[in-house]
C-alpha cells in the first residue's frame, strides 16, 4: 500500500482500509487519504524530489497510487509559477505569482485529480469511468480515459459552453447532456455510477481524486524555493480544491518540510453562484445552496457544493476570507490578467484576480503579502464570454493608406 495508512473520515475520524469506500460508513462524511508520515518523511526529501521528472508524480509518496503500471502518462502538472510583476504593479502589490494551470494537457487543473482517479480505476480493474462536470473535468476525464483505453461517460448540463461539450466527444467519450443544472447532472450521475459499478472520478473515486489537486500546492511550494506564500487565492466550485490545498499544507507540516508558516487561504466564487461565500458570511458557517446559478463562470456554477462546509471552516481557521465578485468584474479581471501577464484564463481565473483587486482596495489583503493566484483553467475554452466585451472589427483594405487611416495617430517606437 505504499505510504498510505488508511481512509479517514474528515468528520468523525473513523478509519478504514484504503479500498473503494466513497463516504464514511458511520456518518456518511467525506473520506480523505491518511499517510504513514514517518515513512513519507524519509523518502520525500527536497533532494529526491528535485531529481524526478517534471510531472505531478514527483510527489509520489503523498499520492495514493500503489501500482506504477496503473498510471496514465499524459504528464499533467509541474506547470509554470509565473512572477506577475506587471499585474502586481497595476494593482499596487509587492509580490504576486500566478500558478498557471491553463497549460495542462486538457488546459485545466482537472488533469491532476483525474490522473490519480484513473490510476485507481485501473488498479481496481473498473470497466468504465466517467464524471459529473461543469466542463473542465469532462475533458480531463475523457482524455485520460482515452489514453487508458477505458469507455468514458460524462454528465454535464446541456446548456454548457459549446467548446466544453465538444472536447470530451473529441476524446471519444459519451456526453450525457442533462437538461438541468450541474446539480441535476450530478444527481443522475451518482445514480448511474451506482447502478452500473462504473468509476466516476469525482463521485465514487472522490477520496483518491481529491489527492491529485494537492500537487498544485506542492509545486507552488517547490517553485517558491521550498517556501509557502502568505496568501493563496483559489476559485471555489465544490470547495474541494481549497480543502486539497489545505491538506497539502498540513502534510508538508506533518513531515517537517514547513515550520511555523501560516498561509491564509482565500476562496472566490462568482456573485451569481456563491453558496460557499454566503455561508462564510453567515453565523452558522453552512453553505447557502443556490438552486439556479446565474454566472458566466460556468466551471464554478455548483449550487450545492459538497466540500463547502469544510472550505468555510478552513478559510476561517487560516484567517483567510471568501469573496464573490460580479460577472463584469470577472470579465475585466480576465482581460487585465491577459493584457498584463499574457495569461488568458477562463472566468474562474478571473475571479481570483477580481478578488485580489477588491481585497487590496479594502485591506483584506495587505500590499506587502506574498500572494499566489491559482489560475485553474484556460480562457480558450470559454471565448464567447469575452468576445461580447470587444467592439466588432471592421475590415481594413489591403493597402498602406487604409492601414495608416486605421491606425490614425498611433505611434510606437
Amino acid at each position: 500500500m505504499g505510504y498510505v495508512r488508511s481512509l479517514r473520515c474528515r468528520e468523525c475520524g473513523a478509519e478504514y482500509p484504503p479500498t473503494r469506500l466513497v463516504v464514511c460508513e458511520a456518518c456518511f462524511g467525506p473520506l480523505e487519504v491518511a499517510y504513514e508520515f514517518d515513512a513519507v518523511r524519509e523518502a520525500f526529501t527536497r533532494d529526491s524530489i528535485a531529481r524526478r521528472p517534471g510531472d505531478l508524480w514527483r510527489y509520489r509518496e503523498l499520492l495514493p497510487v500503489f501500482d506504477e503500471g496503473a498510471k496514465v502518462d499524459l504528464q499533467p502538472g509541474y506547470t509554470p509559477l509565473r512572477r506577475a510583476d506587471n499585474l502586481a504593479s497595476e494593482l499596487g502589490l509587492r509580490e504576486l505569482w500566478v500558478k498557471d494551470d491553463t497549460v495542462n494537457p486538457t488546459s485545466s487543473f482537472k488533469d491532476r485529480p483525474v490522473a490519480v482517479a484513473i490510476a485507481k480505476a485501473r488498479e481496481w480493474g473498473l470497466e468504465a469511468v466517467g464524471c459529473a462536470s461543469t466542463g473542465n473535468l469532462a475533458a480531463a476525464t475523457a482524455a485520460a480515459a482515452a489514453k487508458a483505453r477505458l469507455p468514458c461517460y460524462v454528465f454535464t448540463p446541456a446548456s454548457l459552453e459549446e467548446t466544453k461539450l465538444l472536447l470530451p466527444r473529441i476524446y471519444g467519450a459519451t456526453v450525457v447532456p442533462v437538461d438541468g443544472t450541474y446539480d441535476d447532472a450530478n444527481r443522475v450521475a451518482i445514480l448511474a455510477a451506482d447502478r452500473r459499478g462504473w468509476g466516476f472520478v469525482n463521485i465514487n473515486l472522490r477520496p483518491y481524486y481529491a489527492e491529485g489537486s494537492k500537487t498544485l500546492l506542492f509545486e507552488t511550494w517547490e517553485q517558491l524555493g521550498f517556501e509557502l506564500p502568505d496568501v493563496v487565492v483559489t476559485p471555489l466550485g465544490s470547495g474541494l480544491l481549497l480543502t486539497s490545498v489545505d491538506k497539502a499544507i498540513r502534510e508538508l507540516k506533518a513531515i517537517g518540510q514547513v515550520n511555523g508558516v501560516s498561509t491564509r487561504l482565500v476562496g472566490t466564487q462568482a456573485a451569481g453562484c456563491a453558496p460557499i461565500v454566503r455561508g462564510f458570511e453567515s453565523a452558522d458557517g453552512r453553505p447557502r445552496p443556490v438552486k439556479r446559478p446565474d454566472t458566466i463562470a460556468e466551471s464554478l456554477a455548483i449550487g450545492d457544493p459538497a466540500s463547502g462546509h469544510e472550505a468555510i471552516q478552513i478559510m476561517r481557521r487560516t484567517r483567510g476570507f471568501a469573496d464573490a465578485p460580479s460577472d463584469p468584474e470577472i470579465i475585466e479581471a480576465q482581460r487585465l490578467l491577459a493584457r498584463t501577464e499574457g495569461v488568458f484564463a477562463e472566468p474562474a481565473g478571473g475571479t481570483t484576480v477580481a478578488t485580489l483587486k477588491r481585497a487590496l482596495e479594502d485591506g483584506r489583503i495587505d500590499r506587502d503579502e506574498r500572494v499566489v493566484l491559482l489560475v485553474t483553467g484556460n480562457g480558450l475554452k470559454a471565448p464567447s464570454v469575452l468576445s461580447a466585451s470587444f467592439p466588432p472589427l471592421t475590415p481594413v483594405a489591403p493597402n498602406a493608406a487604409a492601414v495608416d487611416a486605421f491606425l490614425g495617430g498611433i505611434h510606437h517606437g
Binding site: 456518511f28 450541474y182 459538497a306 466540500s307
Partner: protein
C-alpha cells in the same frame, strides 16, 4: 407504490437494499417513519442527526427535486413518487 432509491454508500441504513417499494402517500417525514418501521431504529440513527433533521451528508430528492428547495420533511410525497437518498457528493 413509492419507490425509494438508496445509493449504495447509504444502503447500510437499509440492510443493503437499494431499491425499496413501499405503499405510502403523505409527507417525506411520514415516509421515513414508514421506512424506519421496516428497517428499525438503525435507519433513523443513520439518516437523522440528533435534532430530528437529516444528516448534513445525506441529500433527499423527491421526483428529482432537492427536498431542501421544497418543504423539507413536510414535502408532499404522492403514491407513485420516486425518492432518492444520496450521499452529499457534488462537484470536483
Amino acid at each position: 407504490m413509492v419507490r425509494l432509491v438508496v445509493a449504495s454508500p447509504i444502503a447500510v441504513a437499509t440492510r443493503g437494499e437499494r431499491e425499496i417499494d413501499i405503499e405510502y402517500e403523505g409527507t417525506l417525514g411520514g415516509l421515513f417513519d414508514a421506512v424506519a418501521e421496516r428497517y428499525g431504529k438503525e435507519f433513523r440513527q443513520r439518516i437523522f442527526d440528533g435534532e430530528g433533521g437529516l444528516k448534513r451528508f445525506v441529500n433527499v430528492y423527491v421526483d428529482g427535486e432537492d427536498a431542501r428547495y421544497l418543504k423539507g420533511l413536510e414535502t408532499p410525497v404522492t403514491r407513485d413518487a420516486t425518492v432518492d437518498l444520496l450521499p452529499a457528493i457534488a462537484g470536483g
